[in-house]
């Protein structure tokens, strides 16, 4: 039997136990490639977390072992780039990187984010031209960092550092785009940017999601959400666009909620919002209107989505496409979304039960209307079927096939993870939420 074609994912975050959106995208790419018959290996240069899984599928280059960290510059805005710097400056981590890459003997390298490019290009198979390298982008990093800089209230020194580093990042990403064999982009807009930067080939492979399993739990939080209470719900990590979007589009109209109505927030963004609400002196004022849950497990998240009157997508900027939007569209809940959150999903903005609102008052009016209504969105399931991860990532799988043109296992030889994955909490895009680590299906992408 010939050796299976091996794809090496190289990135700056782990992928086997995904928490945030970037991890979910990488996780699902690995999953669909395995489903397509490839062997997938991974090297993640990051700080190892308690929930991380390390096995022969993915190795973590734990930055904690490096002993130094320079990524705090400019408020941590360029922290992901400094993952690379840390590995490069640590003899051990650098040696480990090439040892692991050598052991993988990749037929192709998938660069998750651009940051590990200077090392990935030196992998012998890549350097020799035997293994194509694909930059799997999640957004246009340079553009996102420019926008994030406006939200980070940096001091003069931080601002000066940021202004010095932004052109470096811009040039770095352009170099990656121009030198890799292909770029995959989440949206047509991102793809257009990469085309103008001289990408040899650009393929759009957007973000998707899964249909969440039905929990049949009627009242997920009886203590926090009184009986009969209707709520609008959002979940997100502490990523700046999540927090500022909520602050700008949701907080201002909370005064208008009626008794028995709440806005509920889960995920890392609720911790950031708690601090912000206290800063504004609104903690007690918003008591009884705003419920900040913090991180919740996946079952709770499913129950919260299942019971909500409305899913809110208040993100105002950011690159790529919003995984939570795909998740929301795949649910039968009403959706109130900002224009930015529909980036990459323009074809779905006129579906029944989807309202796109750009100002706080419009956003609030749409949500209050959904809270009054309370009925599920009248969307046909087949209308959103193309939003599953498998469908969205199919162009990427095809691209890998074209570039490698190698043997791969028959799909039938590898137990399909697609059907089980839809029931598997770990593969759900619960961005910003913890997954159930006790579940033994979690460590694997395949059964």
């Amino acid at each position: 039997m010939t050796r299976l074609c091996t794809i090496l994912q190289v990135g700056t975050h782990s992928t086997l136990s995904p928490i945030h959106g970037g991890q979910h995208r990488s996780h699902n790419i690995g999953r669909v490639l395995e489903k397509a018959g490839y062997t997938v290996r991974g090297i993640a240069a990051c700080w190892r977390q308690r929930h991380d899984i390390v096995n022969d599928r993915e190795a973590i280059l734990d930055l904690a072992l490096a002993g130094s960290w320079k990524g705090g510059v400019a408020g941590g805005l360029f922290g992901d780039y400094f993952h690379l710097v840390t590995v490069e400056e640590s003899e051990k981590l650098r040696a480990d990187f090439f040892r692991l890459a050598g052991a993988a003997q990749p037929d192709a390298v998938l660069l998750e984010h651009p940051w590990m490019w200077p090392l990935a290009r030196l992998i012998p198979e890549v350097a020799a031209g035997r293994a194509p390298i694909i930059y799997n982008s999640q957004n246009v990093e340079a553009h996102l960092k420019h926008r994030l800089l406006r939200d980070l209230k940096l001091d003069a020194q931080g601002l000066s550092d940021a202004e010095a580093l932004l052109p470096v990042m811009d040039a770095f990403e352009r170099e990656v785009v121009a030198n890799v064999d292909a770029v995959t982009a989440c949206t047509a807009e991102d793809a257009h940017v990469f085309d103008t930067w001289g990408a040899r080939r650009t393929v759009i492979a957007g973000n998707g999601s899964f249909r969440r399993p039905i929990t049949a739990i009627r009242r997920p939080f009886p203590a926090l959400l009184p009986g009969g209470c209707r709520y609008a719900f959002t979940v997100g990590s502490e990523h700046h666009p999540n927090v500022t979007g909520f602050e700008n589009l949701v907080l201002p109209w909370l005064a208008l909620l009626r008794p028995g109505q709440r806005v509920v927030v889960a995920g890392g963004m609720s911790d950031a919002l708690r601090g912000r609400v206290a800063e504004l002196g609104l903690s007690s004022t918003l008591d009884g209107r705003l419920v900040l849950l913090g991180r919740v497990n996946d079952l709770t998240l499913s129950a919260l989505i299942e019971n909500t009157a409305c899913l809110m997508l208040p993100i105002e900027y950011g690159g790529g496409s919003n995984i939570k939007t795909a998740e929301a569209l795949l649910s039968d809940r009403r959706i109130v979304a900002s224009p930015a959150s529909m980036r990459g999903f323009a074809a779905y903005r006129h579906l029944p039960g989807v309202t796109v609102a750009s100002s706080p008052s419009e956003f609030g009016a749409a949500i209050r209307s959904a809270l009054e209504n309370g009925a599920p969105a009248p969307r046909r399931p087949e209308s959103v079927e193309p939003l599953t991860w498998d469908a969205m990532l199919a162009p990427l799988v095809d691209l890998v096939g074209e570039l490698t043109d190698s043997d791969r296992a028959e799909v039938s030889l590898v137990p399909s993870s697609a059907s089980t994955a839809e029931q598997d909490p770990v593969v759900s895009p619960a961005d910003g939420t913890a997954t159930n680590q006790d579940d033994e299906v979690l460590p694997t992408r395949q059964a």
Binding site: R258, G281, T285, D287, S359
Partner: protein, 552 residues
Amino acid sequence: MAVRLKAAVLDFNNRAPEDNNDHPSRVFIDLSTSLSLFGQQATGLLRAEHTIARQLLTESRIVAIPFVFSAGKLYALSRADAQTLVGEYPGPGGSTIKLHDARHELRMLGVAPAREAATTEPHDLPHKILPATAPATAALAVQPAPPRPPVRALLRKLARRAVTTMPASIREDVRLVLVHGREIFRKTLRGQAPQESAGDSAETRPAMVAEAPVSEQAYAPAAVAANDFRDEIARTRSAIFGRCVEIGWPEAGEMVWTCGFYGAVVPLRLVAEARQRRGFSCAAIYHDFIRGKTLEWDPDELHGLHYACLATDLLDVADRILCISLDARSSLIAFAHKFGRGTPDVRVVTPGRAPSMGATEAALPHELTRRRFALCVGPIDRYLNLGVLVRAWEALAEQPDFGLDLVIVGHATDCDEAPIIAVETSRLFGERILWFDECPGNVLGLLCRRADALLYPGFADQGFAEGRELSIAEALAAGTPVLAAKTAAVPGAAFGGAILLEPNDDGAWQKALQDLATSRLRQIPPIQLPTWDTTSSEVVSHIVEMAQVRTA
């Protein structure tokens, strides 16, 4: 639960409601604010809650059930404890007036409270379900605050002296540097916690602290008395709460009356939701924590969200809202229409003047005994519009015939630094502009009578709270001229007896003040005004009427 409630009702009325042939309706009287602010001078909202509750507790046409909220639950109070909460409870000196910059000694006018701590009173309710160590009890307990170190006052004095020695060309700059330096010190070096809003509960406020005098050791016993007083207050309050009995929410046909701190002490959202489920009714007052700016609130902006929440809470919870001016009524109704709350039942009751409580000339702070002054009563926030007065004094102070000083009375609100800075950075502050942080009602009445005029340049609605509008009435009743802004409900509160000016017309204010200083304004004939007791009686009539309608 029913047994406990019945026991509580028996205690208050000495009869079971089912034994009463008339079936008077039960009215749950919220005294959360009284418990939370127990021991503080009963001015503004607290006075309203006290006065109205005192009448309701003895009202024979209803079954009065005094209670407090804690952690979203209702706890019934015994009659004795309720009366303690709403009774007169003078501070260590009974009435204390304190200059804002602490340069001046405290004026201790009375003796320590004669009332014994309530811990000695017998428990008159059969069950006590909340242990004294419960978090709610702990939250309600006063945390004794350490006396402020005299060094702070000394530093202020030195800073001010340093400023006066500077050349005139850089004096203002130096003053501003010092003011901002102080803010940086407060916020950065001391890691001062973020300020909560004006509606914060008393738990988050510093306890009433009698500031130690700077130089006169003779006043040291006063500080000791103040500490003893705080301890006694804490003990009494904890004891009262420890004797409370948890009760259920009212049922259909019953009623809740509240005038508490919306959003902080009284969980109005919970009350509104319970009211929807259980069908009881609720009446409340519209107080001036809900500022006139509420109507200008824009749901696209975060600014003003706090007040908008208070307004919608009030509209959502109350079947009837009582206010003291037509202007307040119309602004609240307009807000309700604008934001989909229908037309609320808002009734106007006649605002009465505050009782003077017979303060004598001896109560006048010595700084004011030989001055002519105009008085402005606040809370010191942007709505008081103090800037127009500060600018007027700075323009007029150099004129030889302008012998008036400006006396400001009121505490600084937590959320507004700008008006504080405007006053403190004035070159006249501490000399021609004096600011008293605390002033009991009787002394305020005395100041109203002694002032050349009462000044009210503010924008705020008329409400039941901080007493500024009641000061207008007090001044008018004493024959003291009133210069007031021609805005919101002020003209109505002035009963046609005030000189009304555009709030931001600096020239008009300066001219009026010049006229005042040169005695071209004479004392006006005193206006006969209703008393605050009359106002309370009107409120009680509304509550009784509602209760009787519900019962019918």
